[in-house]
């Protein structure tokens, strides 16, 4: 393979995407190439409609890869919440349904039970959807002993509506509804959903991941796969919280947003597995 590359090409850290270059790349078409990395099979060949630097596209890629690797595409039904995270549901080549704000666990329950537990049902929910309006729904779904999987996109704010405070917003973080920064007096504290749910009997698996480096992405993929596996094995509820960047809410560039996650969010929300059981007594 011959490739002429200009020395002045600037690449984005982490992703290696070209930011600017003076000449176009010339690739010799005749040379046989091998695909080593591509779109997961269960994803449509569509562009995402998310903002630059948003990590929800990555989260869907993650889900897609997990579904492919577990070979469960034909058995999955996805439930999308309300928010930007739901926009990815159309990307997956599986049956999908949109739930009302906060109600995804119930919609998933309805689907799972009415098909007598056969399909693998997962919800993708954001922090407004799951931690605010849908907190009670989530806890009660776990408490009912449902066998579902929830992917929780925590980006410390409401991206879709223009950057308001979420229950997961960090202390002192400035949002449009906390113009002075989130103060505990009046606005309370960031909520740790993965830890909270881990205390419940019905939980089989609860973990938190981030996507700030390839290593973390791989870890997250492993975690999501484990979560699906818990549902496949019928152990109990499985839950994965994924810290993700929302540059418009953070009012930062994509790169700065990732750095901010590393410096601030990881400190408040430690990564790790909070519960992992093979059988609920």
């Amino acid at each position: 393979m011959k490739r002429k590359v200009d020395e002045n090409v600037k690449r984005e850290p982490f992703s290696g995407r070209i930011i600017s270059s003076t000449i176009k790349e010339n690739i010799d078409e005749k040379v046989e190439r091998e695909i080593v990395y591509s779109r997961p099979e269960c994803m449509h060949d569509l562009p995402t409609i998310l903002c630059p630097g948003c990590q929800h596209g990555l989260i869907y890629r993650l889900i897609g890869e997990a579904i492919d690797e577990l070979k469960i595409r034909g058995h999955c039904i996805g439930v999308g919440g309300v928010g930007c995270h739901a926009m990815g549901m159309g990307m997956l080549k599986i049956d999908a349904i949109m739930a009302l704000h906060g109600r995804a666990p119930e919609v998933a329950t309805g689907i799972k039970r009415s098909l007598h537990g056969k399909p693998i049902v997962f919800t993708v929910q954001g922090d407004g959807d799951l931690a605010a309006i849908g907190m009670g729904d989530m806890i009660n779904a776990v408490n009912r002993g449902e066998k579902l999987t929830t992917i929780f996109c925590n980006n410390a704010g409401y991206g879709t509506t223009g950057g308001q405070m979420a229950p997961t917003t960090l202390l002192d973080q400035v949002t449009t509804t906390t113009p002075e920064g989130r103060q505990p007096q009046g606005f309370g504290y960031p909520i740790h959903v993965a830890e909270l749910l881990a205390t419940m009997t019905g939980m089989a698996f609860s973990a938190r991941c981030a996507l700030t480096s390839p290593a973390q992405f791989n870890q997250a993929l492993k975690t999501v796969k484990t979560a699906f596996q818990k549902q496949i094995d019928g152990v109990g509820y499985s839950f994965v919280e994924i810290l993700s960047a929302c540059p418009p809410t953070f009012k930062k560039t994509p790169l700065e947003s990732i750095k901010w996650i590393m410096s601030h969010m990881l400190e408040e929300y430690p990564l790790g597995i909070f519960k992992d059981v093979d059988k609920i007594p």
Binding site: A96, R103, E106, T109, N140, R144
Partner: protein
Amino acid sequence: MLEKRLINGNEALGYGALYADCRCYFGYPITPQNEVVEFFARELPKVGGVFVQTESEVSSINMLYGAAATGVRAMTSSSSTGFSLMQEGISTLAASELPCVIADVQRGGPGGGNTQTSQMDYMQVTRGGGNGGYHNIVLSPASVQETFELVQLAFCLADKYRHPVIILTDAIIGQMQEGLELHRLDFGPLPDKKSWALTTVGDHDDPGRFIQNAPGILGSYRDYMIRITKKYQEMTEKEVRYQAGHTEDADLIVVSFGSSARSSLWAYHQARKEGLRVGFIRPITLWPFPTQIIRAAAQHTKKFVVVEDNLGQMLRDVQAAVQDKAEVHLVGIAHRHLVTSSGMIFPKTVLQEVKRLI
């Protein structure tokens, strides 16, 4: 021989659903419809069905949304204040055009109100309590047997139009016991659900189906609106149901639904026995409303009495139907026999009013 039972209206709701092959129920206890929840908790596991006691009415309606999306027959039930909580969900079911059945066993309102009977949810169910100006077919039974039959009809209509259907009963119909003859009603063939239901793509190279709760966000909003306008038009033309007696030669016509219709029916029969020219109309579908029969009757009958246990909600539909051609009077909540929430409109009160007006 058909099986006969002495049973209350709430359990008849349950039997109706079982005879309509509904095998999924999601519900939350609220007086006066607890017997429905308890019926399904007891009976559904025996037939391999799914019963989930939810944590709130908001959950009930959203579980129903999930179940209906898989193409199975499913239902939920609640009572007035819980039903208010379901409005967003019902609006969504209408938006997503999913077939399901929702029963509202009315109690006193507004808001928390009380646990006794009333008929105050008329506006809420017929005008779309949720946003977006959708319409659901509303069936209003007046006896235990009819509750049983209308639930079966409701499932048929839901599947036929791919739309939620509401059964509106009340604490009196729900709690009273009557003889019930169990039999299965056959309404003929129904459209196939295979083209849209979420049942997982299986091993095929299917790109996956998508059920959208927001018709305006993807695709053509106008197509959606044209489709539902046609659907509502078709329902209005084909699905109007009512019971009528002596509307041709009446000086006065009593219009009433649900439990009030029972009081009114007695008053109507009694009045006829006494030689008074009284007619009777009982709308069975509250939406679409039997406007035509009332409008036709108003050409020669100059007095109407609406009997309903509220401040006058159906009254408005009757007024709209008569178009100033006749007087419309109300026997409403002020005519109850007691000041407490246990008050009822008695048949003799209706008869008195009828005699006074004639």
